[in-house]
């Protein structure tokens, strides 16, 4: 029971790291970016390739898995995404889903279609026991790391000048521009960080979800569910949603394996009927 709970929380944390970037672009910048999973895939491949081809230790690859997708995200934002901010949501969906397919075939062509495998360092393998509860070392590591990220993100958004400027830019672009806020720069930076977080999530997820060129599509459903259920008003909503979905998915598969992966969709329907605005609705 407790082991299942911990597995579920670890899985939920992982989902949150991948979804947080999308929560920001979709929620704050009002841009439907389905290509979010592609950045997660890039992060995963950066880690896998750095480990397998260059022999970089796992922990050191994680900053790379953040930086490379963030850089690609920044370039893509300035050259491609910026043109679509004012377009309709349908255009944005078509544009970003096309990016997903391009990323998938590119990965297939460059790196082959097989699953990427990595070997974790010894201290992250196996499990330990606390008060009789078996806990996987890697899952404990995930929980700690993701919890730190969540707190840091929340602090940046709520307490820093950058966070205030971002919220201002989102609320009223014209007024923000008038006050001398560099809206374009802020959007680019936010988009880059979101992409980087997705990449980090992809890298951390190799061990749990596997990594192959279909990764962006596989993860897209989960990430969208998290953002939809959580609502896009703040990061707290998606965080709660990720924990609920992660735990429900793991527990569902444990207790009622016949329902398998179906349970989370059921849960999504119920939650959306009860709270169509998301768990934490916008204050407006």
């Amino acid at each position: 029971m407790s082991t299942i709970l911990i597995d579920g929380i670890a899985y939920g944390m992982l989902l949150f790291v991948m979804a947080s970037g999308l929560a920001v672009t979709l929620g704050l910048m009002n841009f439907v970016n389905l290509a979010h999973g592609a950045f997660a895939m890039i992060g995963g491949y950066v880690t896998a390739l750095a480990m397998n081809r260059l022999g970089v230790p796992f922990l050191l690859t994680l900053p790379l898995a953040f930086l490379v997708p963030a850089l690609i995200g920044a370039v893509a934002e300035r050259t491609l995404y910026a043109r679509l901010y004012r377009r309709s949501h349908l255009d944005q969906v078509l544009f970003s889903i096309a990016l997903v397919f391009m990323a998938m075939t590119a990965a297939d062509w460059l790196l082959g279609s097989s699953q990427m495998l990595i070997t974790l360092p010894g201290w992250l393998q196996g499990r330990f026991e606390i008060a009789g509860i078996g806990v996987g070392r890697y899952r404990a590591f995930l929980i700690v790391l993701c919890a730190v990220l969540v707190v840091a993100l929340q602090l940046v958004l709520a307490r820093t000048r950058f966070g205030a400027r971002l919220r201002a830019a989102v609320d009223d672009q014209r007024a923000a521009r008038g006050l001398g806020i560099n809206v374009g720069g802020i959007f680019a930076a936010t988009f880059a960080v979101g992409s980087g977080l997705a990449g980090l999530g992809g890298a951390l997820g190799i061990e749990i979800m596997g990594l192959d060129p279909t990764f962006p599509l596989k993860i897209m459903v989960y990430v969208l569910i998290v953002v939809t259920i959580g609502g896009t008003a703040s990061l707290t909503g998606p965080f709660l949603a990720a924990l609920i979905i992660g735990t429900a998915d793991v527990a569902g598969k444990y207790y009622i394996p016949e329902l398998g992966a179906f349970l989370i969709y059921l849960l999504m329907i119920v939650l959306l009927i009860l709270r169509p605005q998301g768990l934490i609705a916008p204050a407006r």
């Binding site: 279609s113 495998l117 596989k218 598969k253 444990y254 016949e258």
Partner: protein
Amino acid sequence: MQRRSLLLGAVLAASTALAGLPAMAQAEPFKVGLILPMTGPFASTGRQIEAAAKLYIAEHGDEVAGRRIELIVKDDASVADTTKRLAQELIVRDKVGALAGFGLTPLAMATAPLSTRAKVPTVVMAAATSSITETSPYVVRTSYTTPQVTSKIAEWAATEGMKRVVTVVSDYGPGIDAEKTFTEVFTTAGGTVENLRVPLQNPDFSPFLQKVADSKPDAIFAFAPSGVGAQFMKQFVERGLDKSGIRLLADGGITDDDILNGMGDPALVAITGFHYSAAHDSPANSAFVEAFQKANNGMRPNFMAVGGYDGMHAIYAALEKTGGEGSGDAMIEAMKGLSWESPRGPVSIDPETRDIVQNVYLRRVERRDGQLWNVEFETFEAVKDPAKAAP
């Protein structure tokens, strides 16, 4: 004078060439249409089979009974509609003498009606669902069937004194095939079986493995596509199941020779049953593995490669037997009952079912010279597909 003799020579040469024309038309090349997934998620299947077929031709020459063998490779990206279209093109436009390849069951199934109508022998080199050979009297298989292997794993588990086994299979055709066969054979032998199915799209096995850990059976029987299988073994070890006395039995696809080396130590826990291991101890196999690796940049041949290699052999041998005549009916008749020494061991084509009869081996993964290999420790000889062998 010199010029005149040159001219004469030219005329002579031209006339002999003309005279030779009818003779050449008679011995027109025998074309083999090889339809494989060369791109997409199953590209490794295509890569292995193509390499093996080319190796076979390189080793045995491209002429059989006076006819030149011409290989036409087409990529269907494992989409059944494409496979069917390509098969039609190959039959109508290229006039192939035989079709071969077929990475997955639906791809073979989609083509079978065409084989029947056009009377083209169709050699299935990969797809493993039992019923494929029943879809057309022109289908011959040189890979394996899931029940063929799984039934022997279940038999072995029972003789080892295991009483309770949990099956964990990926929720798709071959997985369910394996689950059914294992349950049937193992319960007949007096054991009890519990079934779990894992969604194919989501390879996080942790909740399922936790369930197994809590129910403490004697063993798990697992069936998963090869890349996902590696994930399965890792999480098996991560959960400490290897130390809890639960044994891991699996179909050999889980420790696929193509990617076995990348799996690392977790692979060492698996006991698998299969029809081919690159570590099979025979002169034919060592020669095959060595030649294959030399021709393909060190890539290790897996069960797909051996299916392709033997498929080419079936075509060569049948063409030889028909004296180069090579019509569909004659080819199929010639393939029935063929037997030969394959890299995997002795094999034959069952004359009744046109399916392959072969040894099934139980193997454990061992590290030798720094590389991981599937080392065989028990052999079941001349196993027929049980789904059809049953009276």
